[in-house]
């Protein structure tokens, strides 16, 4: 009887310990794991910095620049020559992106940008990037705008155009 009680206690102790460790390991870093799965983490090779893009746009062989954010920001200021596709986070914007992509070569250099919101929270840029990758585009880069188009492009004195 005494041995059975001891075994029972030991079993409960081990189960409790195991459960606590599983919860601790599984719960605490869950948020960070989610971040690590970001397909476009800052510093990754798919990203292009504003100054680098501004230089690239001066060359004869300039990339196709697609804007995938809300129209009101595009109308106020956008990268000269950028095409307004519309917010890729919405079905109508995604449809327009798909339609535009069909007329581009899969190896064409394409840069997409949004800048509507802080980078981590942009609802448009990741769906647009995923769609172009899924469609087989091999030379897509994403303009890294950490805060917004205003702060990270226009306020730096980089060229802009206005109008729809």
């Amino acid at each position: 009887m005494h041995i059975q009680l001891a075994l029972c206690r030991s079993f409960i102790f081990r189960v409790s310990l195991f459960t606590m460790l599983v919860v601790a390991v599984g719960f605490a870093p869950a948020q960070d794991l989610a971040k690590q799965e970001d397909p476009l983490p800052p510093g990754s090779s798919q990203l292009i910095q504003p100054e680098e893009l501004a230089q690239a746009l001066k060359r004869a062989q300039r990339p196709v620049v697609l804007y995938v954010g809300p129209k009101s920001i595009y109308a106020q200021a956008h990268i000269p020559g950028a095409e307004n596709v519309g917010p890729a986070g919405r079905p109508e914007g995604m449809e327009k992106l798909r339609a535009r992509a069909t007329s581009l070569g899969k190896e064409s250099p394409v840069v997409i940008y949004c800048g509507c919101c802080p980078w981590d929270h942009c609802p448009n840029i990741r769906p647009a990037y995923a769609e172009l990758k899924k469609a087989g585009f091999t030379n897509v880069r994403v303009l890294y705008l950490e805060n917004s188009f205003g702060v990270n492009w226009k306020d730096k004195g980089l060229p802009v155009a206005a109008g729809e």
Partner: protein, 187 residues
Amino acid sequence: MNRRAEIRNLLIALAVLCLVFGVGLIVRQRGHRDSARFSRDSLSNDSLRTVPDLSFSDLNGRAIHMADYKNKVVLVSFWAAWCVPCAEEVPQFMALQKKYQGQGLQVIGFSVDDDAQELQSFYRKYQMNYPVVPSDLKLAEAFGGVLGLPTTFVIGRDSRIHAKHNGATDFSELEQEVVALLEGEQN
């Protein structure tokens, strides 16, 4: 394993658990802070932009005239229901509105490119206590341009813009600005 050893092991396990949770929490909060970077433009006195006497209709069809807010401190928040950091700010704007409305504060939300139904649904869900106006290009340009969300303008009793917050707002700093303007200090 005797009882004392069991208790000791259990305490060690609890300590490890607390440590793991603590580290997880710190890392998570640091990540949140990093993702909530903001910048603030403080406008010098000689370049303060005066808000024009605009008129517009809010979500409920009520006419709003900026001229009606002369002698009030106004927080204008350009935001969108689809913008996560903007939506996170709404309860904090509501709290400021509630706390300082008696002293002359008015918050106004200008929604950017929101679907009308989604906006109405958001407004009802949060029971927002300040007017929300579907904005347009003209409105954004009247404030000197809004090229990213959220963007918040702090307007003094003199109808001039005293500060512009780009990105997620630091509400402790914003509250200090509001209090200073309500008390008549001009920064």
